[in-house]
């Protein structure tokens, strides 16, 4: 019984996934970005940093980039790089997320 309850609790946790597999149009929280200097710097410059919230808007076919809304702008992130960004589904939107934060 106890084991079953803990399994249910684990299932209720917001799932962690990689950005390239994240559902579209759902708010996500960045929990890990690649450690390499070049990639993490480019992402940070455009607002893709740990704890920032973003939303996948479109996914290009043929292994193309992911288009994400982040910090009031739209950024295209290569599929390979997106596969190295860990995100978590956010259950409830933070104030301002529904509109747009700058």
């Amino acid at each position: 019984m106890g084991a079953k309850a803990s399994v249910t609790a684990v299932r209720k946790l917001p799932p962690i996934t990689h950005l390239d597999r994240a559902p579209r149009r759902k708010w996500l929280e960045v929990i890990e970005v690649p450690q390499g200097r070049g990639a993490s710097r480019s992402l940070a410059h455009l607002g893709v940093v740990v704890s920032e919230r973003l939303r996948v808007r479109a996914v290009a076919p043929w292994g193309g980039p992911i288009l994400v809304d982040v910090g009031g702008t739209t950024v295209a992130i290569g599929r390979c790089l997106a596969s190295r960004i860990k995100v978590r589904l956010v259950r409830r939107d933070r104030a301002g997320d529904e509109t747009c934060r700058s």
Binding site: G38, S42, H45, V49, V75, G78, S102
Partner: protein, 658 residues
């Protein structure tokens, strides 16, 4: 030891007094925030603008007089931070660190205020007098963001002016503050977390007296050493570097992240705090652009639209050009015939005057009718902000041949002119990507070569043939990319590209941009074309062209072209459209189809499309990728052009025999 950033000496002394020289004002901000638009509003159209990040890759300067005193305005390429990752950003950093700037006008896109403030906080660390310009206020309002300029000014300790540069609003107010503000050093930015401050102070205390009295504040040098900034690390004393490494280790141990990420995080949080204090985010007004964008980036409709747009673009350019060419040509041809009958056919006077007139006619009837609509179309797409969407849509396909995302943008610009396209490769961080993108950008038909395709192939053989040639060119570009990326394999960082909001292009701004680009043809190429026409006519008159044609005969014979074409290829090196106009002159007729078969027209076009870039492009290539690599590009393009030209000739011969 003086600091040296990319070979330019940075004297470690405080800036000289501004009374002794002209005041230098630099427009600094993140990419695509409107710096060049402000520059052009003040100076006149001298800096290319477009709605995508990285449209400015070089520093532009202009003089402006204000209240009787002259000041130098500098348009700086966009930077996200002072730790740079590509040559365009490095040019901006070099300018700011070499202390030739008396005032920084920090331009911010108001609709992306919190992100822009990260750079503001970093710029404040430099201690250079500053003025904050909240540009694109109309966009911020549309997004429901209300910003209090007073609160922001109070929070930063700097004057803040709201502007909408595209409409010229607020520019006068902004420049009215320049003179007073350039005597006020920027205040220190708000402090960071205790552990980071401790690390910075630790490193700062190890800086030598010489370094501490530098133009650059000790705190800035210390923070950059902590961020492992390669430029400053290479120049700091061994003692400072050791202290920075130690402080970095301690900081990383405490926070579990690399020091650069920690410091960027501090700026990010600081900017967020200021944003929350000075701005109120309400409900944005409904924006039809988002719905359009969903359609244009759709996995199916996006490509259908891209194809339709390319076809539409081609039909408009060809339709307008052919209509104008057909109406203008009889007028100019009639005048040319009158000159001949008036001065007597074959006399030196007649040869001279008619060749001048033919040069004028070539520009007016063959180049301008196609070039003007082409440049308007390109300016429209650039200002609209569609090009980054093309890069987004094409990335997946190009990735398969080893090319990476952002490389698409310079290659796309190659359809306008190869020179800015080669320069645009500066936005790429990898040297290898810059080289490959440069090669591919020179293979893409620029407006001059497109002119040859449209005015020769589409005009004489039909639009479908011309479209086929464009498609064939794309295939060759893709194949070349595939080969080059295998010759120089490298793991690329992948695409990280900001996709800007759509902006409705303003007719006046587009006209100024088109004139800016057209001026090069009118002022430089057209006179060259007239001179070339005279030289060719005189060479024909004195039968000197035979020697040139004979020298080129191995090539023209292999391609199956008339011998007279040899001289035109020499002129094509100066400007690509000249090979087309000189063809008219060399063959002695405006009706090419009378003297050249369909196979010869296509062979000639394919050869001209790929062979050796024009002189201006070669100069740009030498600057961007060096002499050796430029020699490779020339050799490669000649090889591609000759191989494909000969193959086309034989393909037509086989088809004719069937």
């Amino acid at each position: 030891m003086p600091l040296v950033i990319n070979s330019e000496s940075v004297p470690l002394t405080f800036r000289s007094g501004i009374e002794s020289r002209q005041v230098a004002v630099a427009l600094v901000g993140q990419p695509n925030c409107g710096k060049s638009t402000i520059f052009n509003q003040v100076i006149g159209y001298r800096s290319e603008t477009a709605n995508f990040p990285g449209s400015t890759v070089d520093v532009s300067r202009g003089q402006v007089r204000q209240n009787g005193s002259a000041l130098e305005l500098i348009d700086v390429p966009g930077i996200y931070s002072l730790t740079t990752s590509n040559p365009a950003e490095a040019a901006a950093k070099r300018l700011l660190l070499t202390a030739k700037v008396d005032l920084v006008i920090n331009v911010l896109d108001s609709s992306l205020l919190s992100r822009g403030l990260e750079l503001t906080l970093e710029l404040m660390e430099l201690g250079i007098p500053m003025l904050v310009c909240l540009n694109m206020m109309d966009d911020a309002e549309r997004k429901g963001i209300a910003i209090s300029a007073e609160k922001l000014s109070e929070r930063l300790g700097l004057p803040v002016v709201k502007t909408v540069a595209s409409r010229g609003l607020g520019i006068r107010e902004l420049f009215a503050k320049v003179k007073v503000q350039c005597t006020q050093p920027a205040p220190a930015p708000p402090p960071w977390s205790r552990d980071v401050e401790k690390a910075i102070h630790g490193v700062e205390s190890t800086l030598t007296l010489h370094e501490r009295n530098a133009t650059l504040p000790g705190r800035f040098i210390a923070s950059k050493l902590l961020e492992s900034d390669a430029d400053l690390a290479a120049l700091a004393s061994a003692q400072a570097r050791t202290a920075a490494a130690e402080a970095r280790r301690e900081l990383e141990f405490g926070r579990g992240r690399n020091a650069e990420a920690i410091i960027m995080g501090e700026r990010h949080d600081g900017a967020m705090r200021i944003f929350e204090e000075v701005a109120v985010v309400g409900r944005p007004s409904s924006d039809v652009r988002l719905i359009i964008d969903d359609l244009l980036t759709h996995p199916l409709w996006g490509y259908i639209f891209l194809g339709a747009l390319f076809l539409g673009f081609f039909w408009i350019v060809f339709g307008t050009g052919a209509l104008l060419e057909r109406s203008l040509q009889p007028l100019f041809a009639g005048a040319s015939a009158r000159i001949s009958s008036w001065l007597g056919l074959g006399t030196l006077k007649e040869v001279l005057l008619r060749s001048v007139w033919d040069g004028v006619a070539g520009g007016a009837t063959i180049v301008l009718p196609y070039l003007v609509p082409f440049l308007f179309g390109l300016a429209f797409l650039e200002d609209l902000g569609y090009l980054p969407r093309v890069a987004y849509l094409m990335d997946g396909l190009l990735h398969r041949i080893g090319l990476h995302g952002t490389s698409v943008l310079p290659v796309l610009l190659g359809y306008g002119c190869s020179v800015p396209a080669c320069m645009a490769t500066r936005i790429l961080p990898s040297k290898r990507d810059r080289f490959i993108a440069s090669v591919l950008a020179t293979l893409v038909p620029c407006s001059a070569r497109s002119n040859v395709i449209v005015a020769l192939v589409a005009f004489y053989l039909g639009p479908a043939w011309a479209l086929g040639i464009f498609a064939f060119n794309a295939l060759v570009v893709i194949l070349s990319g595939w080969i080059l990326t295998r010759v120089w394999p490298e793991v690329s960082p992948g695409m990280v590209l900001e996709v800007p909001r759509y902006q409705l292009p303003r007719p006046m701004a587009m006209t100024r941009k088109v004139w800016f680009r057209l001026r090069e043809f009118v002022v430089l190429s057209w006179p060259l074309l007239i001179a070339g026409s005279v030289v060719l006519a005189l060479a024909e008159h004195w039968h000197l062209d035979r020697a040139i044609n004979l020298a080129f005969s191995p090539l023209t014979r292999s391609l199956g072209l008339p011998l007279a074409v040899g001289t035109t290829l020499v002129f094509g090196l100066l400007r690509k459209e000249m090979s087309m106009i000189m063809l008219v002159q060399a063959l002695g007729t405006t009706n090419i189809s009378q003297v050249m078969s369909a196979g010869q027209i296509v062979t000639f076009t394919i050869f001209v499309m790929f062979y050796v870039p024009c002189i201006a492009t070669i100069a740009a290539l030498v600057k961007e990728i060096g002499r050796k690599m430029t020699a490779f590009v020339i050799g490669y393009s000649l090889l591609v052009a000759t191989t494909l030209g000969v193959a086309t000739r034989f393909m037509f011969a086989i088809l004719a025999n069937k």
